[in-house]
């Protein structure tokens, strides 16, 4: 801001009215600490006078204490904010920095370079208009340059700047620079980065940062700051069709019903015809309401409240779009997923998916391949681990309005949330809808669940017994079925071991296979309930998420969870099948309770403590519960 200080001192009003008109550019920097990323940011802040004297004094003291620049100012200390980062000298999490010049305000997402922090880099990249990728001139295009470039391309960042740093250490040798550019050009073409600008620079010395350096007379392009000040922002968003995800229905009184949201793309005016998705209902914009009065026009990037001429049903999660070119709706997609959780992504497990303002349940039906982020190789995958990126098919429990991510980040970018831990476990980008979601319809049948149940004089239910191997599930289930059968009930017992001999004989005991095992059994149980049967399911079913899936498949009240609670020591002591012994000896992998977790139910309808109750009493308790709590004889 130094260059503006004269104006600030002499005519603050003029300065302010100019500053109010500045635009905003969000960019991210990537590269490792060694590439001079933190130095570059420190330099940008320093040169735009965003470092104050007290911060500078603290920085100088810190530099002497823990710095890596031999007593010189270590800019990296300025930007590494967390205590752990300062101690270890690495950047762990994305940090946001702010500075402005007389042309523009900037928000910099400073992202970590190490592979284990890919998720943090993706976080920073998701909101960036531009990316500055650093290359150490001495080292050229490295594995991590490729990884960062791939992520930048994946996240669809429009403008890429290749900052070839530390040019002073190669004597500003043009041949070195040209060789790096040649190598990068081949790679960029491969990953679909069409357009980028390369700048030779020295962040440490300040060459080609704020102004063109005399050190490289052969370089004719802009200095970094000049480039950042002139890159176009949100250029074409307004030209696209109007889209606004509805955040909140604004109803201060009976006479006003508005729909509040942030306009994703396009422009809107009173009188415009709109369509609400996924319902497809149409209406016309009546008013664009804001605190400052009604607007005649609103554009992409503005937060507004719209009212319509007709009373149509619109709620949070819907998308209001231009009537003439609405987004398609679908419930099955191909998408790229970046996995962000320590616990791997399991196909078949239901996650919550949030896209725009909509939240639905989603399953990854089929991982197609994962990408080696360093070599871009496609590898076969059954699951995705932390920081892995894969292309997968997704199946949702309800249709959503969407656009391909490449066209609209708001309607094509999504996060996945674990239903139990509530953590954000993944992020993804929709490619396209799968055609089968439009072609397979439900066949309506005349004989339905109720009529089948009526004929049997009972209502179908699933009684789901879960517990450790050797807890006594099968014994209890067997007794329950005998009792019900004797009472004239129509029953079936699905036993974990038995099903694995047939329907599920292709499945093993990895986490993925366990999920698929449960999914199939839950679906079979659902068909049987539909047929009017009382289905006893006796499965270890160790994961909450899958039991939740099984529960969600059934109608409300049709699922009765029975937790057969036997302490591990007791079950292991019984060891009827000798499996615990094998597992302890390491002959059996992924054995529940030994080297694979068992997640106890939190809200089971019935809990059986087998240390305090015999199998016969347990069966009696379950039958009594069924007779008492649920009217199972219609």
């Amino acid at each position: 801001m130094a260059h503006q200080s004269a104006l600030i001192a002499e005519d603050i009003e003029t300065y302010l009215s100019a500053h109010e008109r500045k635009s905003l550019l969000r960019f991210l920097t990537c590269g490792s600490v060694d590439d001079g990323k933190s130095t570059l940011i420190g330099r940008l802040l320093y040169d735009s006078k965003m470092i104050f004297e007290d911060q500078l004094a603290a920085l100088e003291a810190d530099s002497k204490k823990v710095g890596t620049q031999g007593g010189d100012i270590d800019f990296a200390l300025l930007v590494d904010g967390l205590a752990a980062e300062r101690e270890q000298g690495i950047t762990i999490d994305v940090a946001y920095r702010f500075f402005s010049t007389d042309k523009r305000k900037f928000i910099v997402a400073d992202t970590p370079g190490h592979e284990q922090y890919t998720r943090n880099m993706v976080t920073g990249a998701s909101t960036a208009d531009a990316a500055v990728i650093l290359i150490d001139a001495r080292k050229g295009v490295l594995t991590q340059t490729r990884r960062h470039s791939y992520l930048v391309s994946l996240l669809g960042i429009r403008h890429v700047v290749l900052a070839v740093n530390k040019m002073d250490l190669v004597g500003w040798d043009r041949q070195v620079y040209d060789a790096i550019l040649q190598e990068y050009a081949d790679f960029a073409a491969q990953i679909g980065i069409k357009d980028y600008t390369a700048i030779p620079m020295s962040a440490l010395k300040g060459d080609n940062i704020t102004s063109r350096s005399e050190a490289a007379p052969w370089y004719e392009g802009p200095a970094l700051m000049q480039l950042l000040e002139t890159l176009p922002v949100e250029d074409d968003l307004r030209e696209q069709p109007f889209r606004m995800p509805v955040q909140w229905v604004n109803r201060p009184n009976l006479d006003f019903r508005g729909f509040s949201g942030l306009i994703s793309t396009g422009t809107v005016r009173p009188g415009d015809k709109i369509k609400a998705l996924p319902s497809g209902r149409e209406s016309t914009i009546d008013r664009i309401v804001t605190f400052r009065g009604d607007l005649d026009e609103a554009v992409a990037g503005q937060s507004v409240t719209l009212t319509l001429k007709d009373e149509i049903d619109i709620s949070r999660g819907d998308v209001i779009s231009e009537a003439g070119s609405p987004p398609p709706t679908a419930d099955q997609f191909e998408a790229t997923i970046v996995w962000m959780d320590d616990e791997a992504m399991l196909p078949g497990r239901p996650y919550l998916l949030k896209v725009g303002t909509r939240v639905v349940s989603a399953q990854v039906t089929e991982p197609k391949y994962k990408v080696n982020v360093n070599t871009l190789e496609h590898l076969a995958a059954k699951r995705l681990e932390l920081n892995e990126i894969g292309v997968c098919n997704l199946s949702l429990d309800a249709p959503i309005a969407f656009d391909a991510y490449a066209e609209n980040h708001d309607l094509g970018g999504f996060i996945l949330i674990d239903r139990i831990s509530n953590r954000t476990v993944g992020a993804g980008m929709l490619h396209f809808a799968l055609r089968r979601s439009q072609n397979i319809h439900w066949q309506a049948l005349d004989v339905d669940k109720a009529s089948r149940a009526a004929l049997k004089g009972q209502r179908g239910r699933v009684v789901w017994l879960t517990g450790l191997s050797g807890s006594g599930k099968s014994t209890i289930a067997n007794l329950v079925e005998k009792r019900l059968h004797a009472d004239g009930r129509h029953t079936y017992l699905l036993d974990g071991d038995n099903v694995r001999h047939g329907l599920n004989k292709d499945l093993g005991f990895t986490d993925e296979d366990r999920v698929e095992n449960i999914r199939r059994v839950a679906e079979v149980a659902k068909l049987m309930v539909d047929a009017g049967l009382i289905v006893l399911v006796s499965f270890i079913s160790p994961f909450r998420a899958e039991r939740r899936l099984a529960r969600d498949l059934q109608a409300e009240g049709d699922f009765v969870e029975v937790y057969v609670n036997t302490p591990l020591a007791v079950a292991e002591g019984r060891d009827v099948k000798g499996l615990y012994k094998k597992a302890r000896a390491g002959e059996l992998k992924n054995f529940t309770g030994i080297d694979s977790p068992y997640e106890a139910p939190e809200n089971a309808e019935i809990v059986i403590d087998t240390t305090a109750m015999s199998a016969a009493d347990a069966a009696e308790k379950i039958v009594a519960w069924l007779e008492g709590e649920l009217d199972y004889s219609i």
Partner: protein
């Protein structure tokens, strides 16, 4: 609040328009998804902007959440006046919480020092208030440009049932997608103006004509110089040290907190443009007037982990 926005959108949205739209979007997400949100109100300039944004976000409705002031009883008198005025003018429900333990033990910065004072009144007081009312999402006016650990904090900052922040285990936050889900007892602190700078705040106050506490403007006020800071003698609870005589100086405050812990700066800036001018030409950062950041290295990060805002 009389200015009328131009009816036609400008060629490119300005940085303040983009920041405003982002903040409003964040507030609406919380209102739509949280069960019991609250807006923490500290009466300072950032809080003033937050109130204004909330009024805009939900217009013509009133914001669907109350204001909560975690009071230390040691704020400037002018701040209490402002608090009552704003709650009334904007029609917010105002809740005030004072830690009963701090009241009983008469915790104050003079006898107990700034660290203990802040811990008991603010950190503990805030936790008590959130538990008492069962708030599951609390808006705060923190900005990322204020301090290094804030620069790394998410907009939706997840807290355990013990109100602890785990900086190494933050939820990824992508695009405009905020994950507001949590288990019973857990809560989320939400910072809608994370991406604003001090200059943005001042410019926005100027542009939108937002009322702020008069202490931000220079005026002749009674101060004593103590440990290198100018402390205003705001009421007679302030014990004067031997030889200390309040001086009349033209001063103002860049940041407002408990008066015994907030240093004034000598200044003649009496209008918003003058304040902005002074800020832009100054050579020290905003939090420098606050004693709490200097207590120890990484002190804010530590306080935040323990539940401080």
């Amino acid at each position: 609040m009389q200015a009328k926005a131009p009816a036609i959108a400008p060629e490119t949205l300005t940085h303040l328009q983009r920041l405003e739209a982002e903040s409003i979007h964040i507030m609406r997400e919380v209102a739509a998804e949280a069960e019991r949100p609250v807006m923490l109100y500290s009466i300072g300039k950032d809080s003033a902007v937050m109130l204004h944004l909330a009024a805009k976000a939900f217009y013509p409705s009133k914001p669907p959440f109350p204001l909560l002031h975690v009071d230390t009883t040691w704020k400037f008198r002018a701040m209490y006046e402002m608090r009552e005025r704003m709650a009334k003018e904007l029609g917010f429900e105002l809740l005030v919480h004072k830690n009963p333990e701090a009241v009983e033990r008469n915790i104050n910065p003079f006898d107990h020092g700034s660290a203990l004072h802040t811990d008991i009144w603010k950190t503990e007081g805030l936790k008590q208030a959130l538990d008492k009312y069962g708030f599951d999402a609390a808006f705060g006016g923190a900005r990322r440009d204020e301090e290094k650990s804030r620069a790394k904090e998410r907009i939706f900052s997840f807290r355990s049932a013990q109100h602890r922040w785990d900086p190494k285990n933050q939820r990824p936050e992508l695009w405009r997608l905020y994950n507001t889900r949590k288990n019973p007892g857990e809560s989320i602190r939400v910072f809608p103006i994370s991406n604003w700078t001090e200059l943005d705040i001042w410019q926005y106050i100027h542009l939108e004509n937002i009322p702020i506490v008069p202490l931000y403007f220079s005026q002749v006020r009674p101060v004593v110089e103590r440990d290198g800071a100018l402390i205003m003698v705001d009421d007679d609870r302030m014990p004067l040290r031997p030889g200390e005589v309040p001086m009349q100086k033209s001063v103002r405050f860049r940041t407002l907190g408990c008066y015994p812990l907030t240093g004034a700066v000598e200044s003649t800036a009496a209008t918003l443009p003058e304040i902005i001018q002074e800020m832009l030409l100054t050579t020290t950062s905003e939090r420098q007037g606050r004693m709490i950041d200097h207590d120890q290295a990484a002190s804010m990060e530590k306080k935040k982990q323990e539940g401080y805002f």
